[in-house]
Amino acid sequence: MKGLPADLKTLLVAPHMAGGWSAERWSRVAYLAQAAGVLTRISVDLTEAGKRTGLPQGLEGCLLSAERNGARNQVRLSWEMDRIKRVFWDRDIKIVLLKGAAYLAGDIPCTRGRLSSDMDILVAKDELAGVEATLLDAGWVSAKEIQGDAEDYDDLYYRRWMHELPPLVHEGRGTVIDVHHTILPPTGRVTADGSELLELAVPVESLAATEVEAANDPAERSRQGYYVLCDTDMLLHSTVHLFQDGEIRGGLRDLVDQRDMIAHFADRPGFWDRLIARAEYLGLGRPLFYSLRYAEALLDAPVPEPALKASQRFAPPLPVRLLMDLLVPRALTPTYLFDSNRVVNFAGELLYMRSHWLRMPPVMLARHLAIKAWRRAGGTKTA
């Protein structure tokens, strides 16, 4: 299997080994890291490893820029958590944070230098309408409306077939929130029931040592009262997002998240048995198989041998696996602007079609792609 570019991999899995590189090498790897959205994380790790000296002229500024960007994103995310709590302050509702917000609230290692400041939350299906109404009343508007694209096919598509509301944007802050009721679309070939996830979700743990410390820590205030998915589900959700739901192209950052979660949860008693059983139960074995396989192969994730073996039962038929082994590393690897990137594009296209196949029955997929193509060709909005 083709690996990641060597320097990028070093920076991601062994930053203490970095250094002694020419400016040319740094320039290239910094470009790749920015393209993959992981430069901020790398800056944080280089500082931690005491590797911020003796770098080529000009690189320091680039790293500082990346760090400031990351710090700003974390402030935005933590503030958004605070503001959303303010909106629902008088409602008895279980809000489960997903993705970036969950990593931040749960202090999962992949939160360091993570760039997205979008909010993703999961609520019970019968709460969905109420949550949307409350948000719309409290300053959020439909993102589609802002683009002047209301009431069209996309909106219906989200509501009828997807597992979330159309994204909402806060008018004042410009931040985006996605409200989900499950983590997979009901039309997909595998589905995971949202109520199962809600049931096992755990309250965000206080990270403060004492109550006084908790009361004086702004970050504590933001996270208190929220829930996050339990460890197995948190990892599974990320794998679904990368290998089933979204596009694999450009998804290296997600695989890095998964690697960090694997390392973070690995030593919890019974984690691996619970993970395999949970994947089986929720019907999410396939994405888990891919995640463990590629996180281990590309990013040296510490997956124990028995767990790798156990996940084999979720493997696709051999030809598919061989094809994925060929395509996935290429689609995940960013390319330098001045290198040719035709192969990557092709791999990405193939995988994009695959992710749609996985989430819609074929007839509906044909209809979806036809409408997209029609609109791209300049067809009317209400096609």
């Binding site: 400016a23 320039s27 910094a30 000009g58 400031r68 700003r72 602007l337």
Partner: protein, 305 residues
């Protein structure tokens, strides 16, 4: 020329190194014309920005050419331009990358020029002193910047002021100055044809000619300056010249409004802008002729000392 074609040309603009590539012969010519005299990057320099300018499709290279600047992962909002205007695509593409990916600096959307001083008789080095010219586009800040840059001041930028928030020093970003429509004539008359690019007609902003950055601004591209004066010029033909000082919360708000990335810098920006509010002089300028505006800036800088 070969470096440009193969995408290996790396040149320095102030604190940045940009790597540029294009296979488009007309752009290669235009680029070498207005970037003549820029220092090339040394092998030990890190590359901040990468930009490839090329036809939107293979067909479009020959048939009514349309070009676009490709910054790779940096998504930019620009539409393709006719092949004749390829240099604009490059200029806008590079500015976009600097404006969105350089948060090591607090950036103001403004022109900047500075006065350099010889070391004093006792050998004491005296810092260069800068004036920042902000305000809406069309207020004449490019023309004023151009006028001063060729008249005893050193060009820092007509686009972005780059401020290091740790010591409040401004860093040069000397780029060709883009002059539009009527101001072209005024400046060609003053400075002569040879410091200008060819005219670019029918751009989204009308006619554009680039004024080359003066040689001393390129040779001193790594020398910072202290900010002493902030002006908001306003070209009002036929109106009497007016200078109005302002300060305090208004100065803070005006300066913050000129910043491109203060939101992304958080407290570092808040502290820097507050400190500058307390330390610099702020003026609205209303002027009729370029000479008048230049004299005002000279006088105000004398006073701000």
């Amino acid at each position: 020329m070969r470096g440009l074609r193969r995408g290996t040309l790396k040149f320095k603009v102030g604190p940045f190194v940009a790597r540029i590539g294009t296979t488009y012969p007309l752009l290669q010519q235009d680029f070498l014309d207005i970037y003549e005299g820029y220092p090339l990057a040394a092998p030990e320099d890190f590359v901040h920005f990468n930009l490839k300018v090329g036809p939107v499709s293979l067909l479009r290279r020959w048939f009514r050419p349309k070009v676009i600047a490709d910054g790779g992962f940096v998504a930019s909002p620009f539409v393709p331009l006719p092949g004749d205007l390829a240099i604009l695509a490059l200029e806008m593409g590079l500015n976009w990358q600097v404006g969105t990916k350089s948060d090591q600096f607090l950036i103001f959307h403004s022109g900047v020029v500075a006065k350099d001083f010889e070391p004093s008789a006792t050998g004491e080095v005296r810092p260069s002193r800068a004036v920042l010219m902000a305000g809406q586009s069309g207020a004449g800040k490019s023309t004023l910047t151009a006028g001063l840059a060729y008249n005893g001041w050193r060009l820092f930028s007509d686009e972005f002021a780059l401020m290091d928030t740790s010591d409040l020093q401004l860093y040069p970003y000397p780029r060709p100055i883009s002059l539009k429509n009527q101001s072209i004539e005024v400046m060609v008359e003053r400075l002569g044809e040879e410091v200008f690019s060819r005219p670019y007609l029918d751009t989204p902003k009308g006619t554009i000619r680039y004024l080359k950055a003066p040689g001393d601004s390129l040779r001193n591209g790594d020398r910072p300056a202290r900010l002493d004066l902030v002006v908001f010029p306003e070209y009002s033909p036929g109106a009497p010249a007016q200078v109005a000082e302002f300060e305090g919360a208004e100065a803070f708000a005006m300066l913050r409004g000129a910043s491109v990335n203060c939101d992304r810098l958080g407290q570092a920006a808040f502290d820097a802008i507050s400190d500058l509010t307390g330390r610099c002089k702020f003026f609205h300028l209303q002027y009729d002729t370029l000479d008048m505006a230049m004299r005002m800036v000279e006088d105000l800088m004398e006073e701000a000392a």
